[in-house]
């Protein structure tokens, strides 16, 4: 299978996020960056599919600035075969990102396009289905597990209070969530090999972005609460406070 995986460079999930002086972006000084965790599930799923089939190719694509090449190299070290960096400013406009990805992917006619269900910086959860629309492909989102059977992909899609078992004909776009595809750590051999794998850079054709950030603010800090007491004996007082003071039960 010819598989494309779209990834994003994001701050580490444990990073302390501070708003920058301009008031519309974050302070990036000292931040550690990673591949967005859901994109790692997508990458792992692609590599496993290739390994199971014993053939095929995994191409990893990102829209980002020059430093996103680091995350592409990590993806190559995990086992992707080649990488494409679409150079451009990441935007909150998912449709612009999807357009740039579609421009790159359309001509390659992949059998499968995988993405994380969302990037953990913008939390929009939209590029996957938008890309599918632009490519004219069926799309299944928030998938924990996939199986392939003659020309179709069968997906376990997480929904409220359960799972939908969903099928779609290939080629298709699937977005992944945490589930079957715990990502591997790159081996030393993988890291060495990644240095020789092709990483192509070109300009991202984002078009006009139509989602404008006017301000970015830290959320209001909650006032520290109080310790009601120690152990099970504090429970009656807690229940009284929840009823009479907070009025939530």
């Amino acid at each position: 299978m010819n598989i494309y995986v779209c990834i994003k460079r994001v701050p580490d999930t444990e990073a302390r996020i501070k708003v920058a002086g301009n008031g519309t972006s974050i302070d990036t000084a000292g931040l550690k960056y990673v591949i967005s965790p859901y994109d790692e599930f997508a990458l792992e799923a692609a590599i496993r599919q290739k390994e199971a089939a014993g053939s095929g190719e995994v191409t990893v694509v990102t829209v980002g600035e020059s430093n996103a090449a680091e995350q592409l190299r990590s993806a190559l070290a995990m086992g992707a075969d080649k990488a494409v960096l679409l150079k451009g400013q990441p935007t909150l406009d998912g449709l612009a990102t999807a357009r740039a990805l579609a421009e790159e992917i359309r001509g390659a006619k992949p059998d499968l396009v995988l993405l994380g269900m969302k990037a953990v910086d913008d939390d929009q959860q939209q590029v996957g289905p938008m890309l599918a629309e632009l490519l004219g492909l069926p799309c299944v989102t928030v998938v924990a597990e996939m199986e392939f059977e003659d020309g179709r992909v069968v997906c376990h899609r997480e929904i409220e209070g359960g799972v939908e078992v969903v099928e779609a004909p290939l080629p298709a776009v699937v977005t992944l969530t945490k589930g079957k595809y715990e990502p591997r750590y790159p081996s030393l051999k993988g890291i060495m090999a990644a240095k020789k794998k092709p990483l192509e850079e070109k300009e991202a054709k984002l078009g006009e972005a139509r989602v404008t950030v006017h301000s970015l603010q830290p959320p209001a800090e909650k006032a520290a609460g109080r310790i009601v007491g120690q152990g099970a004996d504090a429970v009656p007082e807690l229940v009284r406070l929840l009823r009479e003071e907070a009025k939530v039960i």
Binding site: L95, Q126, V142, E160, V165, V166, G179, P219, I227, G231
Partner: protein
């Protein structure tokens, strides 16, 4: 008059609770924009009977699309239907719920209409003719205020944030045709988890457990507490216990799980990693039970009990049952 389209949600032929919030949010935005609200209610035959329940939240017109092809979730059909309705209606905004349905459909519709989309709104305004949205980024560690510079502005609203407000409007029902497209994406079956009808991301009360519960065998204590809190309560879990395989990922709260905004959040045996605290920040009242008085969770909790979770929880269940 300008119009706003609200997309109601149903499952198994019954309206989802979130639909009231979607219509109410649309109505609030409509009042700011001097607009009226149309609601699209699509589902299997008979779904039209649910329309009257939506008029009281401010629907001027209710567009009912009934077809048995919509018995199970059919994204290709629904997204085409919504795009068709939107093209005929000249809407300034389209409001979805940020649920597994709305978050799947909204981007498809945005791409079909070549319109901008902002997901997971916690506030909506109409500013200088543009739909303007406040939404969390970095799992709630910052709030971005963004404008949608195109028409219609498409939005999904975060559950539990926009309270349903009764503001009755006309509610005239109009039938619309379901497009005759075949869904390439087909649901083979739906496997529901017993007792988990309500998702942790949508429930008004959440009981979350962490390592301090000591093992998956103690989860019955949290299930009993959930049951004592009533049918609007859902179970959540910390990343540590999901990674350890004690609980499914669907229950995970935090940056790599669900971001929640319930009225009442119980963090039980959860110390409070940064990504977890970010994910619960919009909760109204937070209760923490943890044996470590220095745990970061106490810094964001309104009420805390220092103690062994497996001893405190059964007592809490017992006291709640007395109410």
């Amino acid at each position: 008059m300008a119009r706003i389209l609200a997309i109601a949600e149903q499952r198994d032929g019954a309206l989802r609770r979130l639909s009231d919030e979607i219509v109410s949010a649309a109505r609030t935005l409509a009042e700011a924009a001097g607009a009226e609200v149309d609601v699209l209610l699509a589902g299997p035959s008979g779904i039209g009977a649910a329309a009257s329940g939506l008029a009281k939240f401010g629907a001027e017109k209710i567009l009912v699309a009934e077809s048995d092809t919509l018995k199970l979730y059919a994204p290709d059909v629904l997204s085409q239907l919504i795009a068709d309705v939107a093209k005929n209606g000249d809407y300034v905004a389209i409001i979805f719920g940020a649920s597994s349905i709305g978050k799947d459909l909204a981007p498809r519709v945005a791409a079909k209409l070549d319109a901008p989309l902002a997901a997971d709104a916690v506030a909506l305004e109409f500013d200088g003719g543009k739909v303007t949205v406040t939404r969390p980024v970095y799992a709630g560690r910052a709030l971005a205020r963004v404008s949608l510079d195109g028409k219609p502005g498409i939005v999904s609203i975060r559950p539990n944030v926009f309270r349903p407000q009764e503001r009755p409007a006309g509610g005239a029902v109009e039938q619309v045709a379901v497009p005759a497209v075949e869904s390439r994406v087909k649901v083979r079956e739906v496997r529901t988890v017993a007792g988990a009808k309500l998702d942790v991301g949508e429930a008004p009360i959440v009981v979350s457990g962490g390592r301090g519960m000591k093992g998956p065998e103690n989860w019955h204590m949290l299930e009993e507490l959930r049951d004592a809190l009533g049918h609007t309560c859902a179970l959540g879990a910390s990343r540590a216990v999901v990674d350890a395989g004690w609980r499914p990922h669907a229950e995970q709260v935090g940056q790599t799980g669900k971001t929640v905004a319930p009225q009442l959040y119980f963090a039980i045996g959860i110390s409070g990693a940064m990504q977890h605290l970010a994910g619960i920040r919009s909760s109204r009242t937070v209760v923490a039970i943890n044996k470590d008085p220095e745990a970061p969770i106490f810094k964001v909790a309104d009420y805390g009990i220092v103690g062994d979770a497996t001893e405190v929880v059964p007592r809490l269940t017992e006291e709640l049952k007395k109410l």
